[in-house]
Amino acid sequence: MSSGDTAWMLVATALVMLMTPGLALFYGGLVRAKNVLGTMMQSFICLGVVSVIWVLYGYSLAFGGDTGGVIGTMQWFGLKGVGLDAGPYSDTIPHLLFAAFQLMFAVITPALITGAFAERMKFSGFLLFTILWSTFVYLPVCHWVWGGGWLGRLGALDFAGGTVIHINSGAAALTAALIIGRRKGYKTQPIYPHNLPLTVLGAALLWFGWFGFNAGSALAANGSAVIAFFTTQVATGTAALSWILAEKIIRGRPTTLGAASGAVAGLVAITPAAGFVGSTAALLIGFAAGILCYLAVLLKERLGYDDSLDVVAVHGVGGLWGALATGLFASVGATGLFFGNPQQFAIQLVGAASAIVYSAIVTAIILLAVKYTTGLRVSEEEELQGLDVSQHNETGYAIR
């Protein structure tokens, strides 16, 4: 057991926890004022819902033993046996701390999806969706990659969750946007962010917390953590720049929202690669992330599906790019295509594709189940009124 590693992982866990409220602010600023609370709530309450699931059966199904490579077992049900000894997943920190760290990843993943159906989802339907999705999508995919499942065994690289978290939530987001349908007034009425300073603040907290996410995924205060930390900073800063560069070229003006979005795109893209690549690769990964994700946003506008807050473009596309880039650029403790190992790239493709297909299909099934039980969407009138009043009997602001 190492007190230094434990110290770092306690902090990293707290940092990842902060990302979920950070996301709440990021998303909250992007919706119209009448939906700010409903939107923030959908992220915030994941901290409750998923924590309970995790204690009861979540951690066990994701990390406790293995059933055919696809899911864990119930051996750590209720966290029985998950104690303070150094765990199976690290020699230098208590097992329970690993469980806490992983819990925070499980919390934020369903929260990410909420951006796709922002401004129109019923709160009851959202709660049911989150419970089902965490159970039937997150836990298995997490197990595949990190819990001893088939993808990890195949050699898929995912330093901090590009596949488990971002591709996964991005695929779910696309499915959800298609099934739930467009917001009333989408493309015919102005729908724009009500509080961009809130969004910038959210991006800042995400960035800050992401150091825990990526560098914490080393599970120790060691060189791997330092590399992950540094590549995270570099890719993120670069992506903020490349996104606004692309905006400047295509639309004539760099925007603040573009810088914030680019930062998140960079964070997403570097996630799977963070501990496996050097600074120069991080520059390239970040640079491409800013451009690709921006183009994906423009493509969405063309295709016309209403992924309200661009989860697909940022997390889906960014995560996919990151997963593949890991297969290209890996050079630290792993070897990518550009360093002579094309097989890694192929494995990354398999990993990404499996996550996309599995997540899309199961998400669709879950959404249909929700539709015919609690219902998915608020009524037209409620949508007009906004989620804050219609779902929560509250309003966000009474500034005067």
Partner: protein, 112 residues
């Protein structure tokens, strides 16, 4: 010259504006207001406290037009602002004595 004031539902503003533009109206002034009327409000709850909110967000549009235009403006507003549900709002027509354009000092019909 008359001054027309219309209280409408906020999400109808763009439609009304387009309809009026189509009619040749080149200027108007809008204000965010809150209306009390037959349309019922909603409940708000903050911890233990419960409030009935009776004032509902509305948009007030003010348009100054020549007397000849009044009828068509009113019809355009009705057409574009109507949802058929309670709370669609009102149109008020007020007499106006004079209009002046600040930039040029022009007055009367020339000023709008």
């Amino acid at each position: 010259m008359k001054k027309i004031e219309a209280i409408i539902k906020p999400f109808k503003l763009d439609e009304v504006k387009e309809e009026l533009q189509a009619l040749g109206i080149t200027g108007m002034t809008v204000t965010e207001v809150r209306g009390f009327g037959r349309q019922k409000g909603h409940k708000e709850v903050y911890r233990g406290a419960e409030y009935q909110v009776d004032f509902i967000p509305k948009i007030k549009i003010e348009i100054v037009v020549s007397s000849a235009m009044v009828e068509s403006v009113v019809q355009s507003i009705i057409k574009s602002a109507k949802t058929g549900k309670i709370g669609d709002g009102k149109i008020f027509i007020l007499p106006l004595e004079e209009v002046v354009r600040i930039r040029t000092g022009e007055s009367g019909d020339d000023a709008v």
